[in-house]
Structure formats: C-alpha cells, structure tokens
Symmetry: C2
Subunit: 363 residues, 2 copies
C-alpha cells in the first residue's frame, strides 16, 4: 500500500515514500540515492531508542558503514551548541567522512531540522535522507528543504535551504506518537485542505476515527495527500518568495498564541488550529467569506479532537508578539486569509481591531 | 580604469568590479544589488580599522542603515565559536533583521569566509556582497561562493556554497597589505596562468616591478584577468564536481608542506608555489611535459620574489599528511598536473616514489 510522491524541484527533485514498515527499506533507499560508503544517522534520544536499531539494521544489511549520532530530545536542544557537539562527533569518525557521506535524519521536526542543518553545512553540504517519525514532520518538514537551529532571539534563525535526496515515511512510527502530537500534525493537514483542496476536509472528517486509531492504510493515504499538496506549493516557490507564504495560513495568529502560552502551553498544531479559526474570522470581517467557512473548519478540527477555544488569551499581548515575529517584514503583519474553502490569498491591510476581535473570539 | 567581470552562474550570476577607489562606491553597488534597508558589514579587527570607516561612510551616504560587526583578526578566529558571537550580535540588531538584510564581507579570506557563512545561514540565507582586501582573496575567494569556518579536525569543514550578489575589489587596499601576503596572492595568479592561460605568465613577469609597487593600473589588470580565469572555471562547475579540481594545481603537495611547516611557517601562496614546482616535476616523471615547464614556472615565481626552494622538509612526513588531507577521496591522493603550459589534467595514479622525489627536489 506504499505510495510515492515526487517533489519536483528540477535538479533537486526527490521522492517521498509513504507507507507501513518502510524503515526496514531505509538501506535500499540509501543505496538508491547514491549512498556508497559512510552513512551517519542523526536522531534524538527518544526516537533513537524507539527506531534507531531498525534503521541502522536496514542500512547495515544494505552493505553500508553506519554510525548513529544522538542528541538529547527537545526543542531546547535545537541549538548551535548541540550542532557544535554533532560536528565534533561527525568529524571524529574514522576514516574521515568525505562528500560522499550520506546523513539520515531520523525523528520529528527537531532531529530533522538539526540533521538537515548538519548536512547543509558539513564539508559545505553533503546529501541527506529524511525519515520523519511524527505526523507534523511527515506532512510539513518532510517537504521543502528547510533546515536550521534556534537562537535565543528566535526559532530557526540559523539554517539553510538544503533539499534532501529522498524522504522515507514509515507510518508505523505514528503508533508510538502521543495523541496530542498526532493532533498537532492533523492541524497542518486541515491547513493544507483549506489552502488547496477542500475535499481533504471531507477525508479527514470521514476518517477521523481511523486516523486517531493509526489505521495504516488511512494514515498512508492521509500523509501522501498532504505531502502532495505541500510538494505542489514548494515546487512552485522553492525559496519562499511567493505562494509558499500560503503555508503560513493559521500561523500568523498561531505563532502569537504559541509564544503567548509559552513552552508547554499547547502544541504548535493546536495553536495553528486556533490561528486558522481567527484567520477565517478576519476573512469574514473583510467580506471575503461568510461564517460557513469558519464553521466548517472548526467542525473538522473538532472531529479529530483539536480544541477550538482557548481560555486566558490577552488579545493585546498576542497582537504585540505578532508584530515582532521575524516574518513581519518591515513591520507589516501579513495574513493568509481564505477566499473560499480550498483557496487563500495574502493580505497586509488587516485593521488591528479586526485582529483583536478575532483573537477575543477564541476565548 | 575600473573593470567588470561577470561570473556566469545562471540565476546566481553576479559582477566582480575591480579598480582603484571602489570602496567609495560600495554604497552604490549595495543599492544596485537590491540593498533596501539594513546593511551589516562584517570585518576583522585589522581591516575594520583600516577600511571600516570608508566602507560604512559610502553605505550611509547611499541612504542605507549600516551596522559594523567586528571579530578579532586571524585564522584561529575563523571558528564556530566566533560565528556564534556574530549571530548573537546580528540578531540583537534593532529593528530585527529580516531577509532583505544585506551582509557585506570586508577583508581577506578569513572575514570573507566568515561573513559568507553568516550570510548563508542567517534566516536560512540572506544576500551578501564581498569586498576583499588581500590579493589572495581578490583572485581566489572572491569567485566561487565558498564560505565556511574551520573545525579542530580541519579547515573549512563547516560551511556552505552561497554565491554573493556582487564583489567589489578596491585595489588601493593592496597598498596596506604586507609584501609577503601580496606574494602569497601572486602564487595563485601563477597557478591560474598555468592551468588556463600561459600568456598571463608573461604579464606577471613583465610587470613584476609594477605589481610589487602596487601600481593601480597593473593591479587592476592583473586582478581582472585572474578573476576572469577563475570565473570561467567556476561557471563550468559550480559545485566542485569536475574541472574546478584544476584549481587545486599546486595544492596537493602545497597543503602537505603548509601543514608540515605549521602555523607561521610560510604563507598559503608560498606553499602552493612550492607545490606547483613539485607537480611539474611529477608531470615530467610521468612523461607529460619536459623540464622547461617547471623552469618557466620557477622563473615566474622567482620574478615576484616567491621562494622556489625550502629547507628542512621531511618528504615522508609531507606525503603522510597529504594522504590524510580531506580532499583525498577514499584514500586516493589526486594530483593536478600540467600537460603543457596553460593546460592541466587530473591524475590519481602517481607512484609514491615520484611524489617523494618531487618533494625532495624542493630542498
């Protein structure tokens, strides 16, 4: 039942394979993308324990020379300091790695961003494969080539665009994912539906039970459909200068809420879910859509157990944070707003009072 | 008398301007490549003191918002730790920089590599201009987009390919360059001549006096011709998979000598000069050229005051170091050897005894 989605980026094109038990085929994929000698798997302590042996066994069976580097799990470790320790370990490997080295990112967003950053910068760039293990990473980070680490001044401030040579998504790994994290990824799935494919909302609603129970066939279909949507957007705008902005739907207010609630307050996806509802409300105030769009999205989010209300938000403070977001170019806060279900556009002329009202409405 | 050389890299093409007093036009260039707001000049303590005010004055006069970041001069500071401090300062700038930020590398190889690395990785890549101030950086680092920092395990192990938006070479800055550093750059000029354009050897020999006296017109012509040669090689092979290897002529043995002599032993260019002589000797032993090629190159090197002999080399130790060079792919040491004056080819079947003999001959 495995599916393959092509990410079309000219000479940097690659395949995303989605299906159950694909980790066992990691070695085959590594050889197919040109792995010929040293392979370095970079993972975090949590994922390494769960899936490290399966990944390395497959690579060793394919005749590759494998080394596993591990760093402590958690966003707090997605830092230049951790990268520095990984470089130390990478360059201590004997015999010394050369540009034929293949790096494999095993894990969710943090190991993916970190391993991708190392691949982008070791020896001025070596090839890498991504093997995400969270739904958020499956449908979001697996396409686009964004890599990086955080800085005290903000998330992902240090990094590079560095496309992987391939992505291997084993949906079995979602069975060990906490439900709250599965839901976080589902918010991004809803986002993809709203910006490009309204019929995906139907799919999510109709299969909510199967998704939450980690049915392999349903997850494979869900992930493949989402990867295809994201691949379409990224293919058209690799360096994030145009329509890739559409992927920020729900993120303008969402990031504000995420920062307001602070570490541990709510998952990224949960905040994006709330941000999408707010964006719909702003869109209504602008006369772009009627309330049915917001109601429909809210219903889909609720069907998979995402919260559609949040207590204790301070609208003024959330708005202040939004104005300082790194994506606020030259002080203007940009909004991605639905113009109908399945289509969005970018606006930078949203009145402050409409934003405040939309945030208040979430309470 | 200024000259412009185009580096043709498709969508990443850019111009290299060469001439006297060009630092005063830095602001104009910055605006022309799209600098619209924040400009951050990154330089080392030596160059910052000499040319920082001239560069920033020009940028301010062009209406740009300029910040100068400085780090202590010296290769020892081309480290991830220094990069970390520069990120801290960069992200502390108010208002916060966004992707429209333009970084300007002011200085020789170290500030160029460092500022380029910061530009390649800040916010996943911002534009940058290079304004080199040493002959080596003028004719070598200014073309190719190589950026990076050193690691204890080796030079330039951490970095990226990130093409600048333009290069501004003010040949006046060579007047403050120590003669030994000017000569180091001249070795790379001789290298360019040998790999691509034998008539450049004539130019260097005939104008040796003017070059060493920093005659503006001669330096402008010399630098422009060299930039053009390097641009031709890099255009044909941006990511260093094919003919860009030709630029390593003299570097295989040269790096070995440089590492053997250690810090302060001899300049990079001086070691490359010796490496070129050794490569010619190896080429003779292979029957590719006769001794006249080596004699001619030796004569040109001597005409600008580069040493063509070195005392105290241990051939066996130099050879051991060469075998551990990061460019020794899968254990094979590759040699770039002249096949006639102006043409080279790559060989990986050089017998150890020929290498040893060629190194011994330098004593």
């Amino acid at each position: 039942m495995a599916k393959t989605v092509r990410v079309d980026l000219g000479p940097r094109s690659y395949d995303v394979q989605v299906g159950p038990e694909l980790l066992s085929l990691l070695g085959e994929t590594a050889v197919r993308v040109g792995g010929i000698g040293q392979v370095v798997v970079i993972s975090d302590s949590t994922v390494s324990q769960l899936y490290g042996p399966q990944a390395t066994d497959s690579l060793v069976a394919a005749g590759l020379n494998v080394k596993l580097l591990e760093f402590p799990a958690g966003e707090a470790n997605k830092s230049l300091a951790t990268a520095g320790r990984l470089y130390d370990e990478l360059f201590a490997i004997e015999p010394a790695i050369d540009r034929s080295c293949l790096i494999i990112a095993l894990g969710g967003g943090v190991p993916g961003d970190m391993a991708g950053m190392i691949a982008a910068t070791a020896l001025r760039g070596v090839r890498w494969l991504q093997s995400p293990t969270t739904l958020l990473a499956d449908v979001d980070a697996s396409v686009g080539g964004k890599t990086g680490v955080d800085h005290l001044a903000g998330k992902n401030l240090i990094g590079a665009f560095h496309q992987p040579s391939g992505v291997v998504i084993d949906v079995i790994t979602l069975k060990t994912l906490p439900l709250v994290e599965l839901r976080s990824g589902l918010a991004e799935c809803v986002k993809h539906a709203v910006i490009r494919d309204a019929s995906l909302l139907d799919y999510i609603e109709h299969n909510a039970e199967g998704i939450l129970a980690c049915d392999e066939a349903i997850l494979t279909e869900l992930v493949a459909r989402n990867v295809k949507i994201k691949a379409g957007v990224v293919s058209a705008d690799e360096r994030e200068s145009g329509q890739r902005a559409h992927l920020n739907f729900g993120h303008t207010v969402g990031h504000g809420i995420e920062a307001f609630l602070g570490y541990g307050g709510a998952t990224h996806g949960q905040c994006v879910a709330l941000g999408m509802i707010a964006a719909c409300r702003i869109s209504e105030r602008k006369g772009l859509v009627d309330a049915s769009v917001r109601e429909r999205i809210t219903h889909t989010l609720a069907s998979v157990g995402l919260e559609t209300k949040v207590a204790g938000l301070d609208s003024g403070e959330v708005w202040r944070i939004m104005q300082h977001d790194k994506k606020a170019r030259a002080g203007t806060v940009r909004f991605v707003l639905p113009t109908e279900l399945g289509t969005v556009d970018v606006y930078d002329d949203v009145p402050e009072k409409d934003v405040m009202e939309a945030i208040s409405m979430l309470g």
